[in-house]
């Protein structure tokens, strides 16, 4: 890849990273505020064994939040994008299983499944695949990122 193309990709990765960070910040918020509701959402998918439902409900929103914070702050953003890829893959598989089973409910991505918004459909899967693509882009191209990491590096180089 030429230097100008690499520079363009690095610049494009910044707004994509901020957008993904915003999406995950938004997605994590209702789950952190209402872990009981999110556990019920996970149980509604009927994929995980009961023993893992609460653990998933507790850990996943915080991984989303930490990844979102790292993406927005520009600190270990490529690693955060790798985490995001993992989560998007998991969500896509879960949505695919739910769609195959004909589960007619909200996906629980940005609100509880009990609320009649964002129903599980081919559209929600396509949206997750788009976000997976964006996360892969950030993981591949967000080198020397603008943000906290760049500030820390610069300070280290000066001192």
């Amino acid at each position: 890849m030429t230097e100008s193309a690499a520079r363009l990709h690095r610049r494009l990765a910044v707004p994509i990273r901020l957008y993904l960070g915003g999406v995950f910040l938004w997605a994590s918020w209702h789950k952190i505020l209402d872990p009981h509701g999110f556990a019920l959402d996970i149980a509604t998918y009927d994929i995980l064994p009961l023993g893992l439902v609460n653990l998933q409900a507790l850990l996943l929103p915080w991984i989303e939040l930490v990844a979102a914070g790292a993406l927005i702050a520009g600190l270990w953003s490529r690693a955060a994008a790798v985490l995001t890829c993992g989560m998007m893959l998991m969500f896509t598989v879960a949505l695919g299983i739910a769609l195959h089973r004909g589960l007619d409910t909200s996906c629980g991505c940005f609100a509880s499944t009990l609320e009649a918004t964002d129903p599980i459909s081919g559209w929600t899967i396509a949206r997750d695949l788009l976000w997976l693509g964006l996360a892969l882009y950030v993981a591949a191209f967000d080198r020397r990122p603008w943000g906290l990491e760049a500030l820390l590096f610069r300070r280290k180089a000066i001192s």
Partner: protein, 178 residues
């Protein structure tokens, strides 16, 4: 002059190892934060659920197209009758010759039961199917009729007023389940 090969660290900048290491550190940090917050919040979740969750999913909607029919017209047409009420209600009293297939608003009719009923209808040679239920609103007879029609049976009707209309016509007889 001999040149030494350039030194490279085991994990070069393009290697996925440092990236994965950072990802693991982020995940572990998130895990610790999650467990800490859950431990201090008054409404924290137990780490392992022991009681199954009462999941709420919308009831399946029967989708076939059916027509209403009066009790008198159904009896005159010598239709194939299906009783959609619970088995106990059927055992108390039912229309002579009617087949019992209880309709459940929360679960779709089992495919095996629907298949068996379809075969009975076809073998009977009846040109019309009349389903009766509790006659309420919604009417279990109408809902079951939609499921039967959706399974591919033609000319499926439901009796308006359900069991009350048939009782008023004097057609119900006390009986036991077949």
């Amino acid at each position: 002059m001999r040149l030494d090969p350039p030194r490279t660290s085991p994990a070069t900048p393009d290697s996925p190892r440092p990236l994965l290491k950072q990802a693991v550190i982020l995940a572990v940090t998130a895990t610790l934060l999650a467990l800490l917050v859950n431990a201090v919040r008054p409404d924290g979740l137990p780490l392992v659920a022991t009681t199954p969750y009462e999941t709420l999913v919308p009831c399946p909607e029967p989708q076939g197209v059916v027509a209403p029919i009066t009790a008198g017209a159904a009896l005159a047409a010598k239709a194939f009758f299906v009783d959609a009420r619970e088995a106990e209600a059927y055992a108390d009293a039912h229309l002579p010759g009617a087949v019992s297939l209880p309709f459940d608003y929360l679960d779709a009719v089992p495919k095996a039961a629907l298949g068996a009923l379809t075969r009975q209808i076809v073998l009977s040679g009846a040109s019309q199917v009349a389903v009766y239920g509790d006659g309420g609103s919604p009417d279990s007879g109408e809902e079951l009729a939609k499921e039967i029609a959706f399974a591919g049976i033609k000319n499926v009707t439901f009796i308006q007023g359900g069991v009350a209309a048939l009782a008023a016509a004097g057609a119900m007889v006390p009986g036991t389940a077949p």
